[in-house]
């Protein structure tokens, strides 16, 4: 009988799976982890990474003392100091910067490296401190491309990531009869959702995987659709074309729950309203009555026309052409009939027709979109296309039917909500100013940021003061980093290191971490933090549960949790009143805030949490959009919108860019910013680079774990046989992958899983693990002023034999 003691904890990096775990402790050391039970055992989970925590926590490479930089920034020369000295340095620098430049000049960057609510970044002690300090809080910026597009159709009053949270819970996958994986490889990146897919398969579900690469998910699917990277919006529009042409759309759903019957003014792109016809105060949306051939209030029509072009007389006497919104969608989609779509996407026309038919007839159908189609400048368009497919077919708001994937109903959506956690995150009443992560580069390098200026901040639907973002002063001189590794994860790594992090630009950098990551090596002050097993905490999973993390072992070495660190700092700076007690004492307060959201369920939630350390927040029967009401301007699914929602500046509702000022109201195709066949640069750099999310790491978390490195020892690039032999390269050669922005040296793996014109490098490796350079040098921060999502895959490279 083993002598280990088990306590409840969780593994909460940015894989979204948030597994409840047992920590096994012997002689005060973490020696093993295992899955801990969820109230619903189908959520029981652990993975190859979660099992390696004993190696991480006890690693000899872990930094266990505060460190101060000696020598130049980035030289990676540090000397050990005491906590007293460290806090002195921290406070002195913050005070100095605040005095010289204003508190906004200090940027606080918590990230997704830990979802824990107190010692992590969701919201995290750092956000609480940032509010009190009135600094800049860096937010969003990654993962926002595709979800913003989906939100545009189903939730454009919120925008951004809202659509993810509004999906059904993962278990809903098991009810689907057709599942289309689009730009995602969940067997590797979201491994714990796959067994729900297996349940669906046992019930005869058909799996379709759309991916340029033959991934594990593709290998397990019935159909694999190899698509040209960056062209997915055309594929979606072509499917929409087939669905409209073959009358496969859901007429009733379109009439009742979408903008399909609304009439679009051909002069300004807005919807025709009663006011346009009679000058009254009535702004009801009008439609064409198929019975009487009269244009009137849609609510008074039982049988509206869904397609067609008509004429209407306006209040001012002018005759105006109008088209139904579905007609507008049809005309856009008709640009991409299957044969034309085949030409651009390389997907055979018959295949496009077949998938469209399967999706609409073998129902309920779910589309599971992922971040393979997000890391592009044009990512919002595929998001809009996917959501449009769901709403015109009525494959939404039903069990097993969702175009929003199946990561919704999560507890996390509450713990990251500023609205919900406000009282905890901003206890002093003051707030931090929010800056989008994608714009941090501008702020640091030039001291200015281009941002949309709302005409009326209290009315985001009123549009913007100008047609492009406006330059605003936003100098950043200090950077405080925790729960992340931005030097490794921010695009254009040379710009990050040589410009953003240069001593000319940033006066003071503090990094809180367990290891000497790429980011830690650039710090002036390094503070050692605890692992998930060395603190008490509470965490909302990207599943329906909120979980207690019990302190299993004492903090190793001199490491401290973020709560303790910011508490010491706050005390030093005269704000100790906002950081009273230890992390454990915060848990009940946070749980109370969460419980208050759920009315009658609050008692149950508090009771379950107290007794079991885990409680389900959302109703298991909840099915978003089951009532057919959408969180949009019109309350209907808006595949055609009057305003395009943007996420920055952050507002609720989302700031809307008016379609009568040139913003496109429909899903459409825009070519990628760089990785595209029509870009002349492709002659020089012919390969589109994907930096993959693989099972070996979660972004950069687990980069150093010995067991995983045994199976995955060094950075590699995958090229197929044709692309390899074209360059005279053999499997096992060391090669340079390069473009104008930088390079890296990696081992070549020849694999016909990879598409012609493509190269793939699994992400997460740190610079010191490469023979030269790093993969992140190759990417670019194309700043998209609608979705503000970092576009890592929109990058071209070439590969040649390494001369080293």
């Amino acid at each position: 009988m083993s002598t280990e003691i088990k306590t409840f904890s969780a593994c909460v990096p940015n894989c979204w799976m948030n597994c409840r775990l047992y920590a096994h402790v012997r002689d005060g050391k973490l020696v093993q982890t295992s899955a801990a039970p969820f109230p619903d055992p189908s959520y029981n989970r652990i993975c190859l990474r979660g099992l390696t925590h004993p190696q991480r926590v006890n690693s000899k490479d872990r930094i266990l003392h505060p460190m101060k930089r000696v020598g130049k920034r980035g030289e990676n020369k540090f000397e050990q100091i005491t906590w007293e000295e460290a806090i002195e340095i921290f406070a002195t620098n913050l005070n100095r910067l605040r005095e010289k430049y204003g508190s906004k000049a200090v940027a606080f960057l918590p990230w997704s490296g830990s979802y824990a609510a107190i010692n992590g970044g969701m919201p995290g002690a750092i956000k609480r401190f940032a509010s009190i300090f009135e600094g800049t809080l860096v937010v969003d910026g990654v993962d926002f491309g595709m979800p913003t597009g989906i939100s545009q159709v189903v939730a454009n009053m919120a925008g951004g990531m809202a659509s993810i949270f509004l999906g059904p819970e993962p278990k809903d996958l098991s009810y689907a009869k057709t599942i289309i994986f689009w730009g995602t490889n969940i067997t590797d990146s979201q491994v714990h959702n796959w067994h729900f897919v297996l349940d669906a398969m046992e019930n005869g579900a058909k799996l379709i995987c759309i991916d340029p690469r033959y991934s594990e998910t593709a290998a397990k699917s019935h159909e694999w659709v190899r698509v040209r990277p960056g062209s997915d919006a055309i594929l979606a529009l072509s499917m929409i074309q087939v669905i409209i042409e073959e009358n496969l759309f859901n007429r009733d759903y379109c009439i009742q729950h979408t903008v399909a019957p609304f009439l679009v003014r051909q002069d300004n792109g807005l919807f025709l309203k009663q006011n346009d016809i009679d000058g009254s105060d009535n702004f009801a949306h009008l439609a064409m009555d198929a019975e009487s051939n009269v244009i009137k209030d849609l609510d008074s029509i039982s049988n509206p026309k869904l397609l067609g072009t008509f004429e209407v007389k306006l209040h001012n006497g002018n005759i105006l052409q109008v088209k139904t919104a579905l007609q507008m969608l049809k005309e856009e989609a008709d640009k991409y009939k299957p044969s034309e779509a085949e030409r651009i996407t390389t997907v055979p026309a018959e295949k496009i027709v077949e998938i469209a038919r399967i999706y609409t007839t073998n129902t309920p159908s779910t589309i599971y979109p992922g971040f393979g189609i997000d890391r592009w400048d044009n990512a919002d368009q595929i998001g809009r296309g996917i959501a449009t497919l769901g709403v015109i077919t009525g494959q939404i708001g039903k069990k097993g039917a969702s175009p929003l994937g199946a990561m919704g109903q999560s507890a996390l959506q509450y713990t990251i909500s500023d609205k919900v956690m406000g009282p905890w995150t901003a206890p002093s009443g003051t707030e931090a100013e929010l800056l989008n992560f994608v714009l941090l580069q501008q702020a640091i390098i030039s001291g200015k940021v281009d941002m949309w200026e709302p005409k009326d901040p209290s009315n985001p639907l009123a549009g913007t003061t100008s047609k492009t973002p406006v330059s605003k002063d936003w100098p950043i001189k200090g950077l405080i980093l925790t729960t992340g590794n931005m030097v490794s994860n921010h695009a254009e790594q040379k710009v990050t290191i040589d410009e953003m992090f240069s001593e000319d630009k940033l006066d003071f950098i503090c990094c809180i971490d367990m290891f000497m990551t790429d980011t830690a090596r650039q710090a002036d002050l390094f503070l050692p933090c605890t692992s998930w097993f060395e603190n008490d905490d509470i965490v909302g999973g990207l599943h329906p549960y909120v979980m207690r993390m019990e302190k299993a072992i004492e903090p190793m070495g001199e490491s401290k949790g973020d709560w303790e660190i910011f508490k010491l700092l706050a005390q030093k700076m005269g704000w100790g009143e906002y950081f009273k007690g230890d992390a454990k004492e915060q848990i009940d307060g946070i749980l109370d805030v969460l419980g208050n959201l759920f009315g009658d369920h609050k008692d149950r939630i508090l009771k379950e949490f107290k007794e079991n350390g885990i409680a389900r927040l959302s109703d298991p029967n909840a099915l978003p959009f089951a009532d057919g009401v959408f969180y949009t301007r019109t309350g209907r699914a808006e595949f055609y919108s009057e305003g395009v929602a943007t996420v920055f500046p952050k507002s609720m509702p989302a700031l809307q860019l008016p379609v009568n000022e040139g913003h496109n109201p429909l899903p459409h195709f825009e070519p990628p910013a760089e990785a595209w066949i029509d870009n002349p640069l492709i002659k020089k750099y012919p390969l589109a680079l994907a930096t993959l999310h693989t099972k070996w790491r979660v972004h950069t978390t687990f980069y150093e774990v010995p067991a995983l490195r045994e199976m995955d020892p060094e950075p590699v690039v995958y090229l197929n046989k044709k692309e390899s032999s074209k360059r005279g390269l053999k499997d096992g050669d060391y090669v340079t992958v390069f473009n104008d922005r930088g390079h890296c040296v990696v081992r070549l793996v020849v694999d016909d899983s990879i598409n012609d014109g493509g190269a793939a490098i699994p992400k997460g490796w740190q610079r010191h693990q490469f023979k030269e350079g790093g993969y992140q040098e190759l990417t670019k921060n194309h700043i998209n002023t609608v979705h503000y999502g970092m576009s890592f895959f929109d990058a071209l490279v070439e590969v040649e034999k390494w001369k080293g």
Binding site: Q32, C47, L51, N58
Partner: protein, 217 residues
């Protein structure tokens, strides 16, 4: 054991669970998940237009007729009476490696040096697992310490896809017996007569196909 290759996605969770629980030294693995397809882990075979790949978890097959036991000169490798579990008595093992050579599945490892744990000073895993040392051969034990307490081997209890099953093959109503009856199972190297006690359900995707009658004119 029964392992359903239709469900296995090659995630390596079982391999790592075993590694930690048994405190395996650097470089040692009792359970590996092998890619069938390309030459490297997670790569595809087949052709560019029709690639293929799947994974096979591979650990000690706990044969009913274990060759390793037959060749062991000291009796260190033995078969337990009550359940035919193939185990190694490290005290008797002289490290001659006859069993390593003889095992057709390549699942035995010899400790030619002192076990190394380069990155960590702590003994990981359960302390009811017997540590190994230089000179002895080691392999998967079906987590004998756990099964003797009525628990599953760790690889069964960590698999995210619920692809691994463990139970009594002599019990007709056990999960494993039911699965073997209901599926076209295979064992590895059946021609050698080792009678492994691990059965694999081959990878397959339920597919409807049209042929013949569907196309007649």
């Amino acid at each position: 054991m029964v392992i359903d290759l239709t469900r296995c996605v090659g995630c390596q969770t079982c391999a790592v669970g075993c590694k930690i629980k048994n405190n395996l030294a650097d470089g040692l693995w009792w359970n590996r998940v092998i890619t069938v397809g390309g030459d490297h882990i997670d790569t595809a075979g087949g052709t560019y237009n029709h690639p293929m790949r799947y994974s096979i978890p591979l650990n000690c097959q706990n044969c009913e007729n274990p060759i390793c036991v037959d060749v062991c000169p000291t009796g260190a490798s033995y078969q337990r009476e009550e359940d035919n579990l193939v185990l190694i008595d490290y005290d008797k093992c002289i490290g001659c490696r006859a069993c390593v050579e003889a095992c057709p599945y390549g699942v035995r490892i010899a400790n030619s040096e002192e076990p190394r744990y380069e990155h960590c000073n702590v003994q990981l895993g359960s302390d009811d697992v017997t540590p190994r040392y230089r000179g002895v051969v080691e392999k998967c034990t079906f987590c004998v310490e756990r099964i003797d307490q009525g628990l599953n081997p760790v690889c069964i209890d960590v698999c995210p896809e619920r692809a691994r099953f463990f139970g009594d093959l002599n019990d007709e109503d056990s999960d494993v017996s039911t699965l073997i009856r209901d599926n076209p199972v295979e064992t590895l190297h059946p021609e050698l007569g080792t009678h492994p006690s691990i059965y694999f359900i081959p990878p397959n995707k339920k597919k409807s196909t049209r042929t013949g009658l569907d196309y007649i004119k």
